[in-house]
Point group: C2
Chain length 469, copies 2
């Protein structure tokens, strides 16, 4: 691997700074911290200067909160808009607080609207106002317009700079137009063709245009089928369209269908990463799960989840309490009961993870719900039988009590099948109720598998006549 | 929302087929199934014909296994390469088994190498051979070459069709060259500039070229800094580079640094989705977690996980067994002990999810591990205190036993702090040992929080003198 990477022209100088997985080396980070401590700003600057903006952003994230202002001061020149837009939200807020509003405004002015909005939307109202006032009127209008759309909507996400031309324009005229208008954006991968009312009628990939003779009209090269994104579409939905139709860019239209912006795939890739990664954090109740989040915020989102789980654990305990007499008469029940609950919980979590992913990716819809439930029940039955045989035989032998073996085996089958059913049904029902299945599913599923695990095992023990209540 | 969507020129006809989240409506799927049952192939064809290839792929996924061959037969003309490449792997295998090798070869020949490889790599050896033999020699060589690289590597992922030109070529010459060579790919967003040895020296976005006068040399417009991808780089690593540097396409180089292919962002977006979604499935032991996977495969990957968890549950049981005497003397211990273990497990899972995500996104590296461990310990201490107060007071009141309240409160703090520590340390250590932290972390963390939960609670109960062993 190292061999091939050396061939990259810029990697030779990078090898002291980046490891083979392209992360900043701990030794390099330590050198930067040491030079910050020495207080010689030039030496810090020289160290950081060769880094790519994305790596400078990583550097800020890797060092301690307290060292960030000093680093920002030492490398002010390098702290460009491209670094800011790559920074983690929390770390960016930290740094922006130290920068004067004019500098933030200057940085925001250099960015595409969407990236500028990402920086400004997280500021508190007063800072936001201060930065907006420093902006050029045109940039300011664009950013204020973007901020008027709801968070995580296409309107926030889109950039207003795009190339829109009429249908009767020829390829030659388009190329001349692009060459003459130096103020146009360079961030475009497709040309949007619009009618006189500025409604999109088609798109042209740049590669098609470059391969077409000058005298051909765009209307004859363009693709008429387009995916139009309304400004109020949620970003997760936008990302699903990009994936489904393999888009590079898409036109954003307002309520009257006029072209108002474009969304490009480089912004979508972050959203796909975020949304797919969010489910794991939500399912486990870890809130945003950002390691840069202030401790108190992490605490408050996580403790709420633990309190909810405390509630479900108390329900399970209440069921155990019903069988207190049986446990007193046969303490083996107390030893074995957590096994039934725990394996049921794991089986439920497996099915739930599968269902939550399938829902998020639009693979589990009303059309196939019944089939998928049946499928999961079959897998659960196989799992239940396997685990039941193992634990049943082991219990019968270890406790020299065949009846106890039968009881735990049967309880295990019951609980794993219930877990499989709950694992699909809970997320599906939450989804139908327009709730995010990733957020609430696991509280319900755990409550069901814990309670049913204890109830089935202790209940069967009493019902078998093996032990008195 | 419905209002805006109506403005899309193609959505008017779509509204009977797609719901507002762009999924096929259950009613439409039922109509297709009904027409398949009637056996009139034309009516099925007419229903399906207006669908986008990505929606035809969805239709195959939504209907039952047994109906897929009939649908494939009814719409043979529509079953193009673009449908196949959008299909879920398992469903595609199902369908390809019914198609004659020549038809599969014809479909594969229409695709870019990377998509053709995706279709062919999943076939068993005999089918693969049959399809390869039917391919045009050129396509066959390209696909065989791709198959020679390891699965999930850049070599598999890349397409061989690209535009590579020398540095001294002018913009005008490039445009003429593109116009004259009709056989060149249209799937490109950047031009690769190479030296005489075919080593990449720079890239040009098409938009830059279109805005530059005809007589300028490409060497003067191109960007020299590039991210070069070696053929053996893992696809997850490739996806991280695309994200970090906001790439649209990237050059793939062989061991001697020669340009051999390109990777474009539309292929990366699927990988980002897959890799980010995989973690949730791995953490919960759900294997691939694909709802289209054959039941026996799902069973075999999930049951292994449940057996591993059975092992950890038995360890926890063994600890309870040590305190059998105490439980016999005070059955309240059996009622309360699952609460301590369960909340500890949840707290551990939260931290673990955060750590696994941060590791996957290169945010948690050697440089900040110590800081993050300290951070998680602080959050754990706050969580532990909060839950301890709640459960301690409730227990003291309900059981009218203040000492029992103190014991459970203290046990809870201990277990939540241990959970926080284990939640970071286990994934970090697995990562250092080059193991996937998402796969094995949760078995270890659960074992630690279960065992420590029971041990701390029952041990403290005995140590407090409240109950005899």
């Amino acid at each position: 691997m190292a061999d091939q990477l050396d061939l990259a022209p810029d990697s030779q100088k990078d090898e002291n700074r980046l490891d083979k997985e392209n992360r900043l080396k701990p030794g390099f980070v330590r050198r930067v911290l040491a030079s910050l401590e020495d207080g010689v700003e030039e030496s810090t600057y020289d160290l950081v200067e060769p880094l790519h903006p994305a790596d400078i952003a990583d550097l800020f994230e890797l060092i301690d909160n307290e060292n960030r202002p000093a680093l920002a001061e030492a490398i002010t020149d390098l702290l460009g808009a491209d670094v800011l837009s790559e920074l983690n939200d929390y770390v960016r807020e930290d740094i922006i607080e130290f920068l004067p509003a004019e500098q933030v405004a200057e940085l925001a002015g250099q960015l595409e609207t969407d990236d500028a909005v990402a920086i400004i939307e997280d500021l508190d109202a007063a800072d936001q106002q201060a930065v907006l006032e420093e902006l050029e009127p045109e940039d300011r209008a664009a950013i204020e317009d973007a901020l008027s759309y709801p968070e995580e909507s296409a309107g926030r996400l889109m950039q207003r700079d795009l190339v829109a031309v009429p249908q009767h324009m020829t390829v030659g005229q388009l190329i001349d137009y692009l060459r003459e208008h130096a103020d146009l954006t360079t961030e475009f991968w497709e040309i949007f063709v619009v009618d006189p009312g500025h409604h999109p009628v088609g798109t042209c990939q740049l590669s098609w245009i470059m391969r077409t003779p000058r005298d051909v009209e765009l209307g004859d090269v363009m693709k008429r089928e387009q995916t139009l994104i309304p400004t109020d579409m949620d970003q997760e939905e936008v990302a699903l369209r990009f994936q489904k139709y393999a888009l590079i860019s898409a036109a954003v239209v307002d309520e009257s269908g006029r072209l108002v912006g474009q969304i490009t795939v480089d912004d979508i890739i972050h959203i796909v990463q975020e949304e797919a990664g969010e489910d794991i954090l939500r399912l486990s109740g870890a809130g945003e799960g950002d390691i840069n989040q202030p401790i108190v915020e992490s605490y408050s989102s996580r403790v709420r989840w633990l309190v909810a789980n405390l509630g479900t654990a108390v329900v399970a305990s209440a069921i155990i309490a019903l069988f207190g007499g049986a446990i007193e008469n046969m303490v083996a029940l107390a030893v074995l009961m957590p096994i039934v609950a725990s394996i049921g919980g794991n089986a439920g979590t497996q099915t739930m993870a599968v269902a939550v992913r399938a829902l998020a990716m639009n693979q589990l819809t009303q059309s196939n719900t019944a089939r998928i439930i049946l499928r999961e029940l079959r897998v659960a039955a196989l799992n239940g039988l396997t685990i039941a045989v193992l634990i049943g035989i082991a219990t019968a032998l270890i406790f020299a009590n065949p009846m106890l073996g039968w009881v735990i085996a049967l309880a295990m089958i019951i609980n794993i099948i219930i877990a499989g059913l709950a694992g699909v049904l809970v997320p599906v029902v939450l989804d139908r109720l327009e709730q995010d299945p990733a957020v609430a599913s696991s509280v319900f599923v755990t409550m069901i598998t814990d309670s049913m695990g204890f109830f089935a095992f202790l209940g069967l023990a009493v019902a078998s006549g093996m032990v008195q209540l």
